[in-house]
Each structure stands twice: as C-alpha cells, then as structure tokens.
C-alpha cells in the first residue's frame, strides 16, 4: 500500500530515535571510542584532505561499476552533488567534535539514502570501501610503522561503526514509521453501512479486523441500526483475510449488541479455511447465524423479513412484500 510519509528533519529524527547526549555517550562507550581516537583521527586531517578527491572518485567509480548502485546516480548533476557531499563527509571524519551536530548530519545523510531506496547492503558496502581505501592510505603514509597505521585505522573503524549504527537506525526507524502509517491506514479503512432494502443493512468488512477497528465498526453499526430501524443486518466477512479467536469474539459482540437493539445479524462469507480454523480454535459460535455467501445471506434476510422474490411475466424478478399479501388476503 502506498503511504506518503511526511518528511522529518534531522533534529526531530534524533529526538524520535532517542539520540540524546546520554545515548551518544553510551554508544561511544560501547565502541570504546575515546579522546585518544579523536586525537588520532584529527592527526589524519592532512591525509584525508590531500587524498579526498582521489578516494571519492574511486568511490563513485566503484559504485558506478555495479548496476544495483549505479542506478541511483544516473543523473550527472545529482552525481556531482552527492560527490560534493561525500567529500565533505570524508574530511569531516577527521575534523573532531563528534557530537549532536555531527549526529544530525549523519542522520540526514542516512535518511536520504533510505528515501532513495538504497539497499542496506550497499550502504554498508560503501563504508567497507572507505575502510579499504583508508587502510592502504595509512600504510603508505606510515611506511615501516604498521602499528601506528593500525591504531589510526582502528580509531577510524570505531567512528565509522558509530556512523553505521546511526545509518542503520535511520533505516529501521523509517521502515517502522512506514509500517505504522500503513497500519493506521488499514485501521481507518472505512466500513460503510449500506441499506440494501428498507430495514435491511449490509456491512461489508474488508481488511484486518483488530480490537479498535471492531469497536468502531460496532459503534457505527449500532447507530445505523437505530437510524434506519433495521431488523436484519448482514455482516459480510469475505474480505477479512484471517479470523482468529479475537476476531470471532468481536463478531460475537457485534451480534449480541445488535440483538440488544432488536436487529438480527447474519454473518456471511466465512471461507472454508476460516471455518476450519474457528472450529480448531474451539470458539463457541452457536450464537452466530452464519450463511455461506452474501447471496445466501440476502435470501435468509428476505425470509426473516417476510419478503419473497417473484418473477413477473417478462422474467424480471420483482420483490413482493409477503406480509402485505397475507394481510390483504
């Protein structure tokens, strides 16, 4: 289902995910990211500044050599723009101050990647590429000092993992938001109460029936019963994908509440698999007047209300009120 998700700015995102100063400190503590790391990263500033163009060019060459990622950067103007952003990011890694503002930047970037639909694996792959590039740069920068290069690399790894954590959080958060919005949309699928005939209502239920929706639906139905003085209500559940014991209880409540208002309820459209699961669940459905399909339900409703359908001469069926017939005769 297509749901338009309103955009959320990065600061609001940080709040929504709960990324306050404490949480950030906790994350850094978990990665053992400390002041030493900040210093070592800062010491790499010259290195990143010097090589940024080469690395970023190589980075996009790499991305463009795979159809899956290349698809995102077809537009040359866009490509130039994102290259600029990646250069900023690459240098930013060694500029210190990895606090709230840095986090907001990361969230904004992650958000963009998520929105354009970049797969998480590609997102992670980009970070792996950076690590590979920087590893060789560091080794070249510190010839014969493998240990020093390794320490610097280590600090960078911590920071990048910190960033990856933020990026993945954004992916998860945005997906969850989509799911929540969709659930909301399903819940709000209106269920119209249709008047099929004087004092006969039809309620076609489509979609998942949960507690809140079942309540709204029952309230709406009861109001309609009063307004239209309904005698019979047909509850068609053909469009309900699954009926479990909770849903069955909702149906029973609706049936009972309608009875209190003086209307009989006929439930139609319980499929064979649904019937089987209900029997297996052991729900007591003796109070449920179930008829196979909507057509059958309407026929039963006609019987209850004293109507019968009679074909007039040209073969077109005509509805006759059997009660007025019997009164007349």
């Amino acid at each position: 289902m297509a749901v338009t998700r309103p955009r959320v700015d990065a600061d609001a995102l940080a709040d929504a995910i709960g990324l306050g100063p404490e949480e950030l400190a906790m994350r850094k503590g978990f990665l053992e990211f400390g002041d030493d790391d900040v210093h070592r990263l800062h010491a790499m500033y010259g290195l990143t500044h010097e090589h940024v163009d080469v690395v970023i060019e190589a980075f996009y060459e790499h991305l463009m050599s795979f159809p899956e990622t290349a698809a995102f950067f077809r537009d040359p103007r866009l490509l130039e723009h994102v290259k600029g952003r990646q250069k900023e990011y690459f240098i930013r890694l060694t500029q210190g101050d990895y606090e709230q503002e840095y986090v907001s930047d990361r969230l904004r970037l992650g958000s963009i990647h998520e929105r354009i639909g970049l797969p998480v694996r590609s997102f992670l792959g980009m970070y792996a590429f950076y690590l590979r590039q920087i590893a060789s740069l560091l080794l070249a920068e510190h010839p014969g000092e493998a240990e020093r290069a390794f320490e610097a690399f280590h600090s960078l790894t911590k920071l990048l993992f910190f960033d990856i954590g933020l990026g993945v959080d954004i992916y998860i958060y945005q997906r969850e938001r989509t799911i929540a919005l969709q659930q909301e949309a399903i819940r709000e699928l209106s269920t119209p109460v249709l008047t099929l005939r004087d004092r006969l209502l039809v309620l076609p239920i489509i979609g998942i029936l949960d507690t809140s929706r079942a309540q709204k639906l029952t309230e709406g139905l009861l109001r309609s019963i009063r307004e239209s003085r309904a005698k019979v209500v047909i509850l068609d559940v053909t469009g309900v994908p699954a009926v479990d014991s909770a849903v069955a209880n909702h149906l029973l409540q609706t049936v009972e509440a309608s009875r209190l208002m003086g209307a009989q309820v006929i439930v139609t459209g319980l499929s064979s698999s649904v019937a089987q699961s209900l029997v297996t669940l052991g729900v007591d459905l003796t109070k449920l007047n179930a008829v196979g399909d909507l057509q059958g339900g309407i026929e039963v409703a006609n019987e209850i209300m004293g109507y019968r359908i009679v074909a007039i001469d040209d073969g077109t069926p005509e509805v006759v009120d059997a009660r007025s017939d019997s009164q007349a005769g």
Binding site: Q215, T218, E219, L222, R223, I225, R226, R229, Q253, T254, E256, A257, S258, R259, L260, M261, G262, A263
Partner: protein
C-alpha cells in the same frame, strides 16, 4: 422514583422515566409480576430508552423479571436499548439471554401483536 405502568389492551407498558436505583428495579419487578396476574396480561413491554447505563445488577434483574413474567403467563419485550448501552453491555460481558429485545416501543407492540396472532392461529388451528 416509581416506574409508571400503563395498561394497553392485554399488554402492560413499563415506561422508565429516569435513572433507576436497585430498589426501584426490584419494586418494578414485583409490581409487574403482580399486575400481570391482576390484569391477565399477555405481554409486557419494558421501555429503557432513557437509560444511559445498564449495569450487571440491572441486566440480571431484567432477565429475572422476564423469567418471572413468563411463569406468570406473559411475554416480556425490552425496548429502546441505546447503541452506547448495547455496546458497553457486550464489552462488559453482560447479556440479556433469553429476553426479547427490539428497537423501540412501536416494534415492541408489533412484536406482541405478532405473538398474539400466532396464538390465535394456533388456537384456531
């Protein structure tokens, strides 16, 4: 406040005018059971339109009332349960099993009329 009970042909109509205390309900029960015998009524309509709540005591008493009246030889119909009341009753698991409930007074009278005709037809046949 006592509930006025009106006699209409062979029916009695108990028209509740305001919220009832438990004692009022019990009085109504006794009064109806007594009058059904006195007037040889065949049907009783209890109109609860004005009630905005029916608790467990009220629903139990209504069930009891209907059963007592049945034993005294008449049929009970409860009319005018509001949507909100019906909804909260099922939410609370309160039932009026075995009691006929219809939409309003008009429907209640029509229901008793059908019962009467069924009795006549039965006696005639």
């Amino acid at each position: 406040m006592p509930v006025p009970i009106l006699k209409q042909g062979d029916c009695l109509i108990a028209s509740i005018q305001s919220a009832l205390t438990d004692a009022d309900l019990l009085d109504l029960r006794d009064e109806l059971a007594e009058r059904v015998g006195r007037y040889r009524s065949k049907g009783v309509i209890i109109d609860v339109t004005v009630l905005d709540v029916l608790d467990s005591f009220a629903s139990r008493t209504l069930r009891m009332m209907a059963e007592m009246i049945r034993l005294r030889g008449a049929e009970t119909v409860i009319v005018g349960i509001q949507p909100e009341v019906a909804f909260s009753m099922v939410q609370l698991g309160l039932s009026l099993d075995g009691v006929t409930t219809v939409l309003d007074l008009e429907e209640g009278l029509a229901h008793l009329d059908r019962s009467r005709r069924a009795r006549v037809a039965h006696a005639g046949g």
